[in-house]
């Protein structure tokens, strides 16, 4: 059975040119960049070159790039590293309800440690309330972290505007841009951010590598101690192959950004248009300010996991915000925060596209999905219309019987 991979927001297939760039570092150029001899020197030089390359793409200085072990690690480094270094300036930190767990759970941890946490509101499309951001910043606020483009619903925030607000209020601003790379502007001067996270696995690069851009003058404490690599901020022998692979991947997606964005947007819109023709469906996230590769649709009255498994039988890989695919049986915190009833979250399906997807694949999905939806709706005792669901807004779960 042919695989149709539409889960590129989870991770991507590696670009063959990226793989090729990495291979010598496993068996030939395997030196430790910290070693004195020629093998070490070669590795050191190659990392320095990679750092310069990444810096030139982000329009910053190489000294502002820290290689890490993942996007999650970069997020943790930015949040914990910054607040621990700057806690004497204040104990208030701000974020949104639609962050990746790497941010959300870091904030939760800091709340336990005594920091005061403000979670901003988002509207039904997932846009952060910027007026509220302005009003919530106090002289105790030290850090704001807001995701650039949401991984589940694809909504793109106005990062330059948020940077401006934070700059005026003299608060440090971090953004997780893992989903944005390859499609959106990641020039840190244009964006105005103080810190920014990227990773390899969303851009056809290797898993297990990320970077944190940290503007000069922003002080953080390390979260990993040891040999003092990466400007003393991220100890541990550098993963040279992954660093080279990440750099190659970033270079490639930047080089083809315009062309790929056009191509993927066309496929995305074809999927959205086809699905919205089905009754009682809803596009989650904004229609316009949306990642070119993200389609998130709720098919009301059916449960997301069933759709995923039915599509999986046909070789199609997608994901869902339904509770039934999470270990804790809670629906996606992102969709729940959009002021929509839980039912909409349970029935949401995310199709995330990538550069390897073809129009034939998209046509195939458009052909096979409607009968699956129809069958699962026939099986369902629920008969809500989307108008009813939307009018309801966010509601606490009501219980029937003695279930749970």
């Amino acid at each position: 059975m042919k695989t149709i991979y539409l889960d590129n927001a989870a991770t991507t297939r590696m670009d063959p040119v990226v793989l090729k760039s990495m291979l010598p570092y496993f068996t030939e150029e395997y030196g430790n960049p910290g070693s004195m001899h020629h093998m070490g020197l070669k590795a050191r030089k190659d990392i320095a070159y990679a750092r310069e390359k990444v810096a030139s793409i982000l329009n910053c200085s190489p000294k502002e790039i820290i290689f890490t072990g993942s996007g999650t690690e970069s997020d943790n480094m930015a949040i914990f590293g910054y607040v621990r270094k700057n806690k004497e300036k204040g104990n208030h930190i701000i974020t949104t309800p639609i962050e990746h767990h790497a941010i959300m759970d870091s904030y939760k941890r800091l709340e336990k440690e005594g920091f005061e946490v403000t979670i901003l509101d988002v509207d039904r499309e997932g846009f952060v309330n910027l007026e509220q951001l302005k009003s919530k910043i106090t002289d105790k606020t030290i850090l704001v972290s807001i995701i650039y483009a949401n991984n589940e619903i694809g909504t793109i925030q106005d990062i330059p505007e948020i940077s401006k607000i934070c700059k005026e209020k003299r608060v440090t601003f971090h953004t997780d841009a893992c989903q944005a790379a390859g499609y959106l502007d990641i020039d840190v001067k244009n964006l105005g951010v103080d810190m920014m996270t990227l990773n390899g696995s969303k851009i056809y690069g290797p898993k297990g590598v990320g970077i944190l851009f940290k503007r000069r003058g922003i002080k953080i404490e390390p979260i990993v101690y040891g040999g003092g690599q990466e400007y003393n901020l991220r100890s541990g022998t550098e993963n040279v192959a992954n660093i080279i692979g990440f750099t190659k991947a970033l270079e490639e997606v930047e080089k083809h950004r315009e062309v790929e964005t056009k191509k993927v947007t066309k496929l995305r819109d074809k999927l959205i248009d086809a699905f919205l023709k089905l009754p009682d469906t809803r596009l989650n996230g904004d229609r316009i300010k949306r990642l070119p590769n993200n389609v998130n649709i709720s098919f009301l009255n059916i449960e997301g996991e069933s759709v995923i498994l039915m599509l999986n039988e046909l070789g199609i890989c997608v994901s869902t915000g339904s509770a039934c695919t999470s270990a804790d049986l809670e629906p996606s915190h992102v969709i729940v925060s959009l002021d929509l009833p839980h039912e909409v979250g349970h029935s949401s399906i995310r199709f995330s596209l990538g550069k390897f997807n073809t129009e034939e694949e998209i046509d195939y999905v458009i052909e096979v999905l409607p009968p699956i939806i129809k069958k699962l709706r026939q099986m369902s005792p629920l008969k809500y219309t989307m108008e009813e669901a939307e009018a309801k807004g966010r509601t606490p779960p009501e219980e029937v019987g003695d279930h749970h």
Partner: protein, 154 residues
Amino acid sequence: MADIIRKKQKGTDKVWFYTSTVKDHFINPKNIVLDDKIVEDMHPNGEGEVGSPACGDVMKFWIRVENGKIKKCLWKTFGCASAIASTSMLSVMVTENGGMTLEEAQKISPKEIMDRLGGLPPVKVHCSVLGDQALRQAIKDYKSKQQNKNVPLT
């Protein structure tokens, strides 16, 4: 903030394993209602519904009891693959070999259903409870209807 934080479950590498029996019952559920007309045709004398859409699972169960045994049953669900597969299996268990008595059916435990399915991922055990709760509601409904019948109209 607490309400949006997930409680992480340990050992999640085993979460997504489904047996082939689970898969069979999920892909081709037995006694499922795809057309509401078949419910009428069965002349159910007991029905039950549990769950809530907000929780992500609703189960509806109809039974036809004859001579103290469950002769037929039908069900519908808004639920995940585990809920579908376990209710499908439950519907087979209560009607096979001439049908279970109400007492037997009431005693079916989620564990017995899971054993017949060859197991469920630990996190999905919760989903298998739904079917047998709906069945119990249906039996309760049947019994109360029978009782009402026996009360003479004055």
